[in-house]
Symmetry: C2
Subunit: 157 residues, 2 copies
């Protein structure tokens, strides 16, 4: 995921006007701006679409792209070395910890951060869809994250 | 700052045993592991020291190092390309937004994330010390961040 210009965590992407380009072409364009390399996205990579309650004209479309660790490292390198949005729309790329450490460390702590729109739900649905974590593990991570957020809401760590 | 292995945001650094090396030598060693390039740190860069209430044997020492944007970019590149801790102790580097956008965007949203130990207070003290933001701006950012954290403590974004 990435730290966005507005200080929230989210996925790479952006606004697409479907009268001007296809969703996949728009996403590929945004990815190139934000991660610095071409990441071809097709209709088969589509995962979900969601209408925003606060802005009914906005529909968030979520795509999943599986890649190797070498491809991920290439994106991490390009994102700071050649992406046009680096330091502007994007403040940095981060990996998501898919493990559990003591006292909420790992995924639960990560889920206690502040996310844009429905991106936290998108992350959880992707982890479930790709069977990276079980439903029970995800529920437990969310429970610990919300506890952490409540506990530290007056005195954030 | 960086996304740590435990899912919290924090500064580069690590544990130093003062019977084995000086604080500055230990910090320089940790920085090299985490950002991939040598960042010489001296006693003049020391900013504050703080005894941990939860672990009295632990003292957190905070250092400030001013650098140019070119030096920062070199660190961002090396942190993913050559740092030995990348993908292990460090999940990514992020810049801190030092501005205010609509509805809490920018620094307030950033401050609403989850931070390790006293690193959020260290960030605020550094911004004040370096006169990057005024005391009034910092107070307002903290107020908005805590409001954001309370509002979204049951349903984190």
């Amino acid at each position: 995921m990435q730290m966005r210009f507005d200080g929230l965590l989210g996925f790479p992407g952006g606004l697409v006007n479907p009268s001007e380009e296809t969703l996949e072409a728009g996403l590929s364009r945004e990815l190139h701006e934000e991660v610095g390399v071409a990441v071809p996205v097709g209709v088969d990579d589509h995962m979900s679409s969601c209408v925003s309650s606060s802005c009914p004209r906005l529909i968030t479309h979520f795509y999943i792209k599986k890649m190797t660790e070498a491809e991920l490292k290439e994106i991490e390198r390009a994102a700071v070395a050649s992406a046009t949005d680096h330091g502007l729309e994007v403040l940095g790329m981060v990996r998501v910890p898919l493990y559990f450490l003591k006292k909420g460390g790992g995924l639960p702590y990560f889920l206690s951060h502040s996310f844009i729109s429905n991106s936290r739900a998108q992350l959880l649905s992707a982890l479930r869809h790709c069977r990276l974590l079980s439903q029970g593990e995800l529920k437990e991570a969310v429970r610990q994250a919300e506890q952490m957020r409540r506990t530290h809401s007056d005195d954030p760590r």
